[in-house]
């Protein structure tokens, strides 16, 4: 009896260690990221930092300030913020609208070339946009030569960047949307069609409300990738008039010498705020979209 009791206790202790172990490993593994965020927040509000501690002129801990935020008075920052927002909104609206229309057509209608189109978007989905930048550059130069469209969507315009990003995101959006539409029951729609509603009206009034969560998830995903975009704006724009926050920040961090780490951190945090807000309020949607959809990159 006693022996049994002892072994049970031992296994209880072992059990507790085994239960705690995953938490310990997980916590340790995430530490670098947390430290990075802690640094950026601390640095934003201090004159200078050593490691993750704010340091004042005497070399002691302290010296907090708000002066890193003076960049907000600069008109340039609002210009690039506006551009970032435009790119992000362009992606939300552009990809959302086009892919939900196309997805609906692919899911519900039978037309010539449906199979081909599906196969095509599939191959494109695996095709990597990063490799096409050189050629897209030539396309944008060409568009810039067209009289009116060139001003809005050519090389070195916010419109151009937005339209390229929308196109590159479309195959994924179309596939996700088609999946949503496939999962909706066909009954309500048929009833409406029999009652004489047009296809477009059915799409707008009956189908879209049913896939709202899906559209919201796609919108969040697109907003984040539009807001964070660096490579495409960097490649296809020159100067702060048309560049976005990421490009501005990178310029800023390599121009200032010696590098004003704390101002850089402030601009970085400024860019992070909308993302963090999204992060806090839409976690579940984010997990789902990144788990199901496939963002490229590393």
């Amino acid at each position: 009896m006693t022996t049994r009791f002892e072994t049970e206790q031992k296994s209880g202790l072992l059990q507790r260690i085994l239960t705690a172990l995953p938490y310990v490993v997980l916590t340790i593994s995430i530490v670098p990221i947390i430290i990075g965020f802690v640094w950026i927040i601390v640095a934003t509000f201090s004159y200078r930092t050593q490691g993750i501690l704010p340091i004042n002129a005497q070399g002691k801990i302290g010296g907090l300030t708000l002066q890193n935020w003076t960049f907000l008075l600069d008109a340039k920052i609002w210009r690039v913020t506006f551009n970032s927002a435009m790119i992000a909104l362009g992606m939300v609206v552009g990809v959302g609208f086009l892919s939900s229309l196309t997805g609906y057509a692919l899911s519900r209608m039978n037309f010539r070339g449906r199979k081909t189109f599906l196969g095509m978007t599939l191959v494109l989905h695996a095709f990597r946009p990063e490799l096409l930048l050189i050629a897209i550059f030539q396309v944008l130069l060409f568009i810039a030569g067209i009289p009116i469209a060139g001003k809005a969507f050519g090389f070195n315009t916010v419109g151009g960047v937005a339209i390229v990003m929308v196109s590159l995101e479309l195959p994924l959006g179309i596939w996700l949307m088609k999946g949503f539409f496939d999962n909706i029951s066909w009954d309500m729609e048929r009833a409406a069609l029999i009652d004489g509603a047009s296809r477009f009206r059915v799409w707008w009034e009956i189908i879209l409300p049913q896939i709202k969560p899906g559209i919201a998830a796609l919108a969040i995903f697109n907003f984040i990738s539009g807001w964070n975009a660096y490579l495409i704006p960097y490649t296809f724009t020159i100067g702060t008039k048309v560049s976005n926050l990421s490009v501005f920040l990178n310029q800023f961090s390599s121009d200032t010498s010696p590098m004003g780490w704390n101002q850089v951190a402030a601009v970085g945090l400024f860019q992070l705020i909308p993302i963090l807000i999204f992060f806090i309020f839409t976690q579940e949607a984010l997990l789902n979209i990144y788990g199901g959809g496939t963002k490229g990159g590393a």
Partner: protein
């Protein structure tokens, strides 16, 4: 439907074609205004005889395999196993934290890493070393560029596999685990004999998908080291293609030559994706997201 087709054509098919044609010309910013000269396969010849070609090839292989093994598959699997083993809400919380690097703007993310690796007293890693009484290191990025290129990429990359694996683990019928436990199997045995075999397809998928992603991705390397320090130390294939064609530091954009580098990668990518589309019946995978269960 039509506008989508139009956009996809203009920015996918036409560019693919242009890339191919460009790779056969010597178009550069110096002879931009002239009509295109076709120079046949000269660009390819030049590429393969480049003095740094073996170095770049080696870098690419190293970057892809190391990041893949240690982070995008290895760490991802570990995280997925751990987060599904522990309490559900806690697991969810940790998965959320791991998404942070992915949604952080790449520029901000790299600024964090650059600050971490600085020399004392500014660098964060050095500060921690100091607290633990270890000797201070010089600027870590210059000392171990590869370590940090892989770390920075890996911390972003791991979350993809983690999410795929953990949703796969959750979809394994619970009966199997119960049966195994009744039979007296230990946790490690359960993982080895039940979970891992059931994860075979997700594992293959993540491996092949991420190989492709890593092969063509260069954004974080561009921001972190720009191929340096020194000559071509961390330069990978995709970055070379990009720099030759579009990096304007010296005002010489050799579009034709860069296109040749890019096209070889495109061919590799297409071949790989056709193969894995066949193997995985991609339709099922793309439909898998359970977003409508929100």
């Amino acid at each position: 439907m039509t506008p989508a087709t139009l956009l996809v054509t203009v920015f996918f098919f036409v560019p693919a074609l242009i890339l191919f044609i460009l790779s056969l010309t010597d178009l550069a910013s110096s002879n931009f205004s002239e009509p295109w000269h076709f120079i046949g396969l000269l660009n390819y010849q030049r590429m393969f005889s480049d003095r740094f070609f073996p170095k770049i090839l080696g870098n690419t292989i190293r970057y892809v395999t190391l990041t893949l093994i240690f982070f995008n598959v290895g760490l991802a699997l570990l995280l997925a196993l751990l987060t599904s083993y522990i309490n559900r809400r806690a697991g969810f919380f940790f998965r959320m934290l791991w998404l942070l690097p992915r949604i952080t703007p790449s520029v901000v993310y790299i600024v964090m890493w650059r600050r971490m690796v600085q020399q004392a007293p500014f660098g964060i890693i050095n500060q921690f070393l100091g607290w633990f009484g270890l000797s201070q290191q010089p600027h870590l990025l210059n000392e171990h560029p590869w370590l940090f290129v892989i770390l920075a990429n890996g911390f972003v990359g791991a979350s993809f596999g983690m999410l795929i694996f953990s949703s796969a683990i959750e979809s394994i019928p619970k009966d199997l685990f119960t049966a195994a436990k009744v039979d007296g199997a230990s946790t490690l045995q359960i993982i080895r004999d039940i979970t891992l075999p059931m994860l075979r397809w997700p594992l293959l998928f993540v491996t092949s998908y991420q190989t492709l992603s890593l092969l063509v991705s260069f954004e974080y390397i561009l921001l972190l080291t720009n191929g340096g320090p020194g000559l071509f130390t961390t330069e990978v294939w995709a970055l070379t293609s990009y720099k030759r064609a579009l990096s304007t530091y010296f005002g010489t954009n050799q579009w034709g030559y860069g296109a040749a580098w890019g096209l070889v990668l495109v061919v590799i990518a297409i071949t790989a994706s056709v193969i894995y589309l066949r193997v995985f019946r991609f339709d099922d995978l793309v439909q898998e997201p359970k977003i409508d269960v929100l």
